[in-house]
Symmetry: C2
Subunit: 360 residues, 2 copies
DNA sequence: AAAAACTCTGTAAACGTTTACGGCGTTTGG
DNA sequence: CCAAACGCCGTAAACGTTTACAGAGTTTTT
């Protein structure tokens, strides 16, 4: 592979020094004649700046890393989708790390900041351990954490508010007249499982509804098990009239099982999901879902990082993104949902260019 | 920010030369005593290799770029999901480019290979223009193209086979006794639109069915417009008994409209989508869909690139990924679909850790 | 015992930029 | 007409590595 031209090649051909070439290429004040010669030579040679050499000297890579648990996870994708354009607009490239939700991998990513291949990092750790905090405090580049971090940790931080999110949903159901509101949750030893469970209890209490253990069923965060959990709950509490599901997949499982059991949604049982993924709009009936603002969190994180990159020593900031309730047919009925959103029938689609890019 | 330690710092502390330090760090043969001293110094200082300086010297960045049209597109995501682990296992980082399906951006990415910030590129262009080919032939790093490329282009290439994919679907519908099979397509001036339209026609001909223009309706690739197209088709050809949709979103729109029109799916009208996205499994009835193997294409592309990086001058290769039909309820009925997949009710969920990573 | 071979290490150059510094030639001011 | 000021430009050092080469010291061979 032919060695590409360098500023040396250009300098030779233009009959000037490499310093002049560099100055011209960087737009520093230079005599017109010199500019012309250098530009001509550069054009003829098809010169492109070597980013690596540039980074070595300038100590800036113009790259930022984003470490997510799982590339397939819609919540992280929503973040990615917002992070990408923000960084791109600011002239940064995006390096993607998938940590498979393994703490050791996350710590390895933090540690690898020492290699200085990126200027900063946005990370959304599954859960923050002592080891995370230690490595974090020694990190050799600015980091923004998406997710909760112990009080007093000196790091830029973006959080969701799932507590308020759950409350929004419960209040919504209450407002629709539901009084026997069940909860289908994931394992309580996960961060979201624990906080969503607690939030459910609190929301009921604030409304003056009794907390009834029979109304809570634990499974995992997937569709099949979610369905089974709902089946178990229906058996135990036949008069349940609403289901708060800890994520959208569980809610889809709920729809499966309710349909099989001959219960109408939302007339007999209203269903609410969480995360407001694409799936919520695709299902039938479409799913009311609590959005925890993944997209907004991604955007906020990117902006925090950019700000920090320009202004290294300001105080760490905390941004909390408010949740939002996307009301759809599974609680409000098709008619009501449509009115709320003010869209014509069938216009619920998100964007999708699927199939555009395939090789036919 | 404190300047991190370099091999110079280590050399000083260990009382050896930087060459020795480098040798030790790279595992080149060295006296035990020296190894010990260097390792000790490196540990004490918390030394981490500077990837940029390393790249400059070695002319290898251990980074690979993936350029996709749109981060939000499930088809590209499926690719990304497979590409990531393959590269990671081989010790490469992934740089993500989103080109917004703008040809100029794609060309810019190709051009920027000259900056040498990556060792290679996987690109899935919306459509390959003359300008693409020109820039491609002058690219300063190996490229793998996902998608079709003119005969004779010297580049590693991975393709889907949407022709066979459409045929699979049409044959399936024919096998179910359907004879009035409509097609809802996107614009014919897009690559997938054109090829899927042609494939539909051919598949009918091979089965001895007449090609009836009335059975074809063009819209775009989104849900709302897809629904409208279906409505128009129903009006014109009330006795249509199956719909071949050019992607899953169109198919979702079809389900919306058929439901509103009181037609049962699949009893009255069978529906097939394309791309086999997550949405297909989430909808109700779940959607039979043609998978064009996005995941497999991504994997193949990553492997081709890695191979090329190790073996620069072999002949370009072409890999064609066969399509697959995922039969679900929208053609076969719930019962049949379940039998075909041999899964219990409600176990249709894909993976999803949504909600795991959020800050609660 | 001298030469040859071998092992280990240090010096220095190179990768492709950016940039501080000083020199030279021209303009300006007194 | 000389000095000061200024505008351009070239030389060289630096960023943090890797690595060719040669020198020093040790071991083997003849």
């Amino acid at each position: 592979m032919a060695q590409g031209p360098t500023i040396n090649t250009i300098a030779e051909r233009a009959g000037v020094s490499i310093a002049s070439v560099s100055r011209v290429l960087n737009g520093l004040p230079t005599r017109q004649e010199t500019v012309r010669k250098v530009m001509a030579a550069a054009d003829e040679l098809g010169y492109v700046r070597n980013a690596v050499a540039r980074s070595l000297k300038s100590r800036r890579t113009h790259q930022v890393a984003f470490a997510m648990a799982d590339v397939g996870n819609p919540a992280y994708l929503a973040m990615l989708r917002e992070i990408q354009p923000v960084l791109k607009a600011a002239g940064y490239r995006l390096v993607l790390h998938s940590t498979d939700a393994v703490a050791a991998d996350e710590i390895e990513v933090l540690h690898s900041l020492g290699e200085r291949y990126v200027d900063g990092l946005i990370m959304s750790p599954l859960r923050v351990t002592e080891a995370h905090l230690e490595t974090l405090s020694a990190a050799r580049a600015p980091v923004v954490i998406i997710g909760s971090v112990p009080e007093g940790t000196r790091v830029d931080n973006v959080r969701a508010d799932s507590r308020t999110g759950v409350k929004l949903a419960i209040d919504h159901l209450y407002g629709l007249g539901r009084r026997r509101i069940g909860m289908i949750n994931g394992p309580l030893d996960t961060v979201p499982g624990a906080s969503r469970g607690a939030a459910y209890r609190e929301a009921l209490e604030e409304l003056g509804l009794p907390y009834d253990e029979d109304l809570v069923q634990i499974g995992d965060f997937y569709r099949a098990e979610g369905g089974r959990a709902v089946a178990a709950l229906l058996e135990r509490v036949p008069d349940v009239d609403a289901l708060m599901c800890a994520n959208d997949l569980i809610a889809l499982g709920a729809l499966d099982v309710l349909r099989a059991a001959g219960r109408r949604v939302p007339e007999d049982v209203a269903v609410v999901g969480m995360d407001d993924t694409d799936l919520a709009a695709a299902s039938w009936p479409s799913l009311t879902s609590v959005s925890l603002g993944s997209a907004e969190r991604g955007k906020a994180a990117a902006e925090l990082l950019l700000d920090r990159l320009q202004n290294g020593d300001r105080e760490p900031r905390l941004v909390t993104v408010p949740p939002r309730l996307s009301v759809r047919a599974s609680t409000a009925g098709e008619q009501a949902a449509r009115t709320a959103r003010n869209v014509p029938p069938g216009a619920d689609a998100g964007r999708d260019a699927a199939g555009k890019g395939d090789g036919a």
